[in-house]
Symmetry: C2
Subunit: 149 residues, 2 copies
Amino acid sequence: METAPPHDICPITRTLDLIGERWSLLIIRDVFYGVRRFDALQHHLGVSKKVLSGRLVRLVQEGILKKVPYQQKPERFEYRLTQKGRDLFPVLLTMMRWGNRWLAEKNEPHLHLKHLGCGEVVESNLVCSHCEKPLSPASVRAEISNSSG
Amino acid sequence: METAPPHDICPITRTLDLIGERWSLLIIRDVFYGVRRFDALQHHLGVSKKVLSGRLVRLVQEGILKKVPYQQKPERFEYRLTQKGRDLFPVLLTMMRWGNRWLAEKNEPHLHLKHLGCGEVVESNLVCSHCEKPLSPASVRAEISNSSG
DNA sequence: TCAACAGGTCCCTTTAAGAAACTAATTTGT
DNA sequence: ACAAATTAGTTTCTTAAAGGGACCTGTTGA
């Protein structure tokens, strides 16, 4: 990558505008883990209620989470991932791998993912969906298209 | 994923503590793009000098960027990625894909990556490094190990 | 000598975050 | 019947961080 395309049309900019602060991605991670209710999220994350409720409203508005009722009288909701939200799984997985590789302390407990298919600890690799070869910074070039074709 | 491991040992938490705010990842992205100097970064990103210099110091301290001299008299440096920094490429790539899939406006210019190997537009896929099968939320389980084995 | 450039720092105002108390509807315990 | 507990927030207040813009330093070149 050796070109610098305009900052404002970069999809990374747009993504970070939405979920690029400390809590949104952690909330999404927790919903992946199965933590779906306001109170559980608040305790598990240690985030203030004010910030949590703000983020949840935003994530629902943006279609990343949806509210699903789980009881009537009083009506209560839990938060589930939409397809748009589930699609963030690769982002979390690559962060997890990076954190484990570069930030894990020796002699500390260590969180990893086990692949149920093969039983091994997951070390995800990124491959091109067309040729299935691994992707590296040197093997790609940024381009701008008009998306009208 | 249906267990909720402790928040504080999660590698995603640690990663976001380091680079989980608006600017750090955008700076790293720009360095990938080849924008390496203070002024260029400041203009390309539209970030204040104060925030930029704070982030750069932090990223250098953490070993994600390194300062490389490119002239003497006066001595001037540019910022380059270390291996630790280059290893964030998959995080940026997955964000880019998500942004393109979910946040791109129709009729707007569109930024994507072309794979120099096969000439196609990159749509990255995540595969298990052991069995090379695609990874999905349902196919993995979070586990804690003591990393002493 | 003075402008230009790189790479910042300092000060001030606005914005966001966190902590704790307060609402509100309903159920449970005594 | 009445107090207390759940669940999911909102409101208020205080503190921390971000953003903008002026200012500073060291050097080359007109």
